[in-house]
Subunit: 337 residues, 2 copies
DNA sequence: ACGCGCTACTGTATCGGTACAGAACCGAAA
DNA sequence: TTTCGGTTCTGTACCGATACAGTAGCGCGT
């Protein structure tokens, strides 16, 4: 059987194609009675609804929003926080009649998602600021929102107030009486934290509190993956002669690595070592002892990102959102021995 | 400035629009020299590349594959296994020049992702077999692959050999000498496990091993979310007068709930209670004690699903894949006291 | 009887590409 | 010289919808 299009339905009912289109897309443009007849005929012919591709071309928008990541997803998702953000974004978009399309790097020559995938806007989540993908988005003139990244001129942004969060984390240790504090932060490929918003802000926050207390931290770092890297970096930190009595970490996963290292070295947490994580991921509650950490509301972040991209697509001025954090004190911190 | 299209470039270079199209999409159709000139002109005019929407309409395919889920993503992603699968799918698709679009339920009236989103095929991941979304996919005649679901006639499927995995888990407990075993499985909204492939197969596997040993299990169940439900269900199970000496669980998250309940009740794991999880999610290694569990290779599952959808889209016969599992013995199991 | 505003429907011109069949040209084999 | 195959480029006909302006008919106030 031939493909069913608006035209075939129009012919069947004896109206113009435009009227059939309106029956589906602008019900207020025709009488209810005629609309019923058209829909019935469409159903009878096995019509599914206006073809999304054709509609996208004619309307000039595709109804989907891209999410740009520099890393492969498998890596990104090792941390539950990323996937939770993701989920929140997808749900919020769906409620606004938009679909989420993932733009992850492709190994296939000639296929560049940020250039070749139809979308009306994009969320830029974890990207090098000078990535070619970003350049394609710019070139297409697509509305963008950058999340957990440095602001770019004229681009909407959604960020977490990581500096305050980290400051609270470090202050908590200071208040408990710690005077020797370690920092386990993220080591980026460039060796330069300044372009990574969370890494830079958290560092500034930790140092702000420690500086005020006259404490010079011992800094260690490790890459985002694999998970074992955190444990090894933590071992080194804890085997130093001037072993700190407390450690603040870039994430809960890093903190879990410190916990493992402490266990291996026979250190009691929090009696011998206090640990503070970041994010309040599920991990923070599952681990033993449970982790003191800085909570960020990832669901809210996702919704904020969606609100921002929708506003930007509507031509409204680019908002800059900064979301609050809160310290969650659990079992992994205590005064020093 | 007016929008740059193939035609503007053609006019600029003095060739036909078709030749410009070929310069981008079929480089072998024209001389290298002319192609260079065309690309240079395109670059100069600020052309980004063939418009994805127009290309989708003309070619008859959109270059993206949908992932259909019945639940909201936020819920689905509470389990790391789902997001890992997801990530693996996205990465594998990208390597094949395809994008991944998420089809999650929308609260917006008139927007039905499975009907309204452009795609060339769909992976059906967690869906009621009689969902309307599935019906739309069918009606569109879209190639499908169902994952972790019962096979449907003529639809490709990718499943894990959950029955064998569960049997191995239960057999492990039998071999350790347990004679009183609890099962904490998934309770579905319908109260009927038969339509949920993993739930049914795991139950059949557990029972197969236990039946052979003449053991009648004590069965408890709880919903997939929230996470606390597992702990509560586990408490009930462990407070029975005939408390089992071991429990097999539907997932590692469930097992973690049992672990928490045991802790609350002052039971030592594995001395007083053995626990076996399922999936070998990160949780299984993080928890204390570490969890004995059944490993499934989610990355392989994702790649298999992608291979299957690509084959199906190419018109090849629908494959039925069944992936192996393996028992991973860690600290949470031991002989009964 | 006339003009007015409304609702209900239609005609035409895109949207920006791709497929496919051919035309023009050129060197080599017969 | 003719024929033939191959490369390179062109013309035309879609792909399946939507936007927007326009027309027809109708009730209504005057």
């Amino acid at each position: 059987m031939a493909k069913v299009t608006l035209q075939s339905i129009a012919d069947r009912v004896g109206v113009s194609r435009m009227t059939v289109s309106n029956a589906f897309s602008r019900p207020d443009q025709l009488s209810a009675e005629l609309r019923e007849r058209i829909l019935a005929a469409a159903d009878e012919l096995g019509y599914v609804g206006p073809d999304p591709a054709a509609r996208a071309l004619a309307r000039g928008r595709s109804g989907s929003v891209g999410l740009l990541l520099n890393d492969r997803l498998r890596q990104t998702f090792e941390d539950a926080i990323a996937s939770e953000f993701f989920a929140s974004v997808a749900d919020a978009l769906a409620d606004n009649g938009l679909a989420l399309t993932l733009l992850t790097p492709s190994s296939r020559a000639g296929f560049v998602p940020s250039r070749d995938v139809a979308m009306d806007g994009a969320l830029v989540y974890i990207c090098e600021p000078d990535s070619t993908d970003l350049a394609w988005l710019d070139r297409r003139g697509l509305p963008q929102v950058s999340v957990d990244q440095n602001k770019r001129e004229g681009v909407a942004s959604v960020n977490v107030d990581d500096r305050s969060g980290a400051r609270a984390a470090a202050q908590h240790l200071v208040d408990l009486g710690h005077r020797s504090v370690g920092i386990l932060t993220l080591s980026t490929s460039e060796g330069d934290l300044s372009h990574n918003f969370p890494a830079r802000e958290r560092m500034l926050g930790w140092r702000a509190a420690l500086d005020a207390a006259g404490i010079e931290p011992i800094v260690a770092s490790c890459p985002y993956q694999p998970t074992t890297a955190a444990r090894e970096a933590a071992r080194e930190l804890l085997e130093r002669p001037d072993r700190p009595t407390a450690v603040v970490c870039f994430s809960d996963a890093f903190a879990a690595g410190v916990l493992q290292a402490a266990e291996e070295l026979g250190l009691e947490v929090p009696a011998d070592l206090s640990i503070v994580g970041y994010d309040d991921s599920p991990l923070a509650s599952y681990s033993r002892p449970t982790l003191t950490t800085v909570r960020q509301d990832v669901a809210v972040k996702g919704r904020a990102a969606v609100d921002a991209i929708i506003a930007t697509m509507a031509g409204e001025p680019a908002p800059d959102v900064l979301l609050p954090t809160s310290l969650v004190v659990r079992e992994s911190t205590a005064p020093p021995a």
